[in-house]
């Protein structure tokens, strides 16, 4: 129907750049928004079952590797906002969750993001979405595990270990089901209300590039043949800070214009997983060498993922 509308009512020539761009937008935007609303609603409900307190309890005193796997997995479903990174870090470390396990959680929580999963699924299909989850988990697990092995506790600000967590005194909130549904609805209002503009902009840029920018434009810069493209994309991605909703459409444009999948994904993971503002926040509890080690290990993991993708696809 939108085909007919674009071709006949608006009198645009089929195949013209503008008509193609408009068609792309009209198809993509409602599709992505619908998916986003549905999934965020359900994720919002699921998350009411996974409070940070419960996650911490599950991780207390866990053996390193099992603990890393659990922490990374729980990082996906436990509600997390980077502004809570410090109290969460303090709470985890203080109650005896090993440093490396805490890091697995802190890496997975922002990097594997439900909005990114939906958008990747919507734009590239389930395979790419699944690989994104799998490799993201692997990076979080292995990076945390390595940080644990390196015994870097000496680079945590000493006051962290001297402080003691009080008891919140609140009875654990146990919402009934209708409350959970309304919390899911709140999540939709909050997240969709915030990201729809980025999705629209991203798809619009995508639509624009769809019609106008030549297909092979990015190939020389971010194509497979350019070996340096992956480390470069990661370096560029660190200071850039965007939420997942804003970055996926950009990634889709990059790929469309000749960037290889591995390079584009590495760029995306770097932008959402390694963010400068979060590092600045974490500096309050971590000494600089630990922050650099953290960036180094995660960056290296992302790089391997990027090369792996370029090799497979």
């Amino acid at each position: 129907m939108s085909d007919w509308f674009i071709d006949h009512v608006m009198g645009l020539t089929k195949g013209s750049h503008f008509a193609e761009a408009l068609r792309f937008f009209v198809f993509e935007f409602p599709k992505v928004m619908l998916l986003l609303t549905l999934i965020i609603f359900f994720v919002g409900i699921i998350r009411t079952y996974f409070t940070p307190e419960r996650t911490r309890k599950a991780l207390e005193g866990k053996k390193t590797f099992t603990g890393n796997v659990m922490a990374a997995t729980l990082g996906i479903v436990t509600p997390f906002c980077s502004c809570s990174a410090i109290p969460l870090f303090l709470g985890f470390v203080e109650s005896g969750v090993p440093l490396g396990v805490t890091f697995s959680f802190l890496i997975a929580a922002p990097m594997i993001n439900e909005v990114a999963i939906i958008l990747l699924y919507g734009m590239f299909g389930w395979k790419v979405a699944a690989i994104y989850i799998g490799t993201g988990l692997a990076i979080a697990i292995l990076s945390g595990w390595m940080i644990g092995l390196l015994k870097l506790e000496k680079w945590v600000e000493p006051w962290v270990y001297e402080s003691h967590m009080g008891n919140s005194g609140s009875t654990e909130e146990k919402p009934d089901f209708s409350k959970r549904i309304s919390l899911g609805y709140d999540a939709v209002k909050e997240i969709v209300g915030k990201v729809w503009i980025y999705v629209a902009l991203g798809i619009l840029v995508g639509a624009g590039a769809h019609g106008y920018v030549p297909e092979e434009f990015m190939a020389s810069l971010m194509g497979k043949s350019a070996w340096y493209s992956i480390p470069l994309s990661i370096l560029i991605g660190i200071p850039l800070y965007s939420n997942a909703a804003g970055i996926v459409p950009i990634v889709s444009v990059l790929i469309e214009k000749g960037a290889s999948l591995g390079t584009a994904l590495a760029f995306m993971m770097s932008v959402i997983g390694l963010s400068l503002p979060e590092m600045v926040i974490l500096r309050k509890v971590l000494k600089l060498p630990l922050i650099f080690t953290f960036i180094g290990i995660v960056g290296f993991g992302i790089m391997i993922v990027g090369y792996l993708f370029n090799f497979i696809f």
Binding site: T51, P52, E53, R56, P79, C81, C83, S84, I86, P87, L88, L90, G91, F92, E94, W159, S163, H164, M165, G166, N167, S168, G169, S170, L183, D186, E190, I281, K284, V285
Partner: protein, 79 residues
């Protein structure tokens, strides 16, 4: 009544503070509102996710922004 808003100055924490002040003012509740930004203080209250709303030493809300109705309910139930 002593109300504390816990949070290190992120957008959500500011929203919670604003909403709480509104509710207190509109309903003529006798309360002092303080913003707690120090992580050690926040930790002493046992809170891991900000923003949080603490009333007379009891953590009522953590990790999310409640609606004004919910804040009103919390602030009026103790009276």
């Amino acid at each position: 009544m002593e109300i504390k808003i816990l949070g290190s100055g992120c957008a959500k924490c500011k929203t919670l503070e604003k909403l709480t002040r509104e509710v207190v003012q509109q309903n003529g509740i006798d309360a002092t509102i303080t913003k707690v930004e120090d992580f050690l203080e926040i930790m002493k209250l046992g809170v891991m996710t900000t923003p949080a709303l603490v009333v007379d030493g009891k953590v009522e809300i953590k990790g999310r922004i409640p609606s004004t109705d919910e804040i009103k309910q919390i602030l009026t139930k103790t009276i």
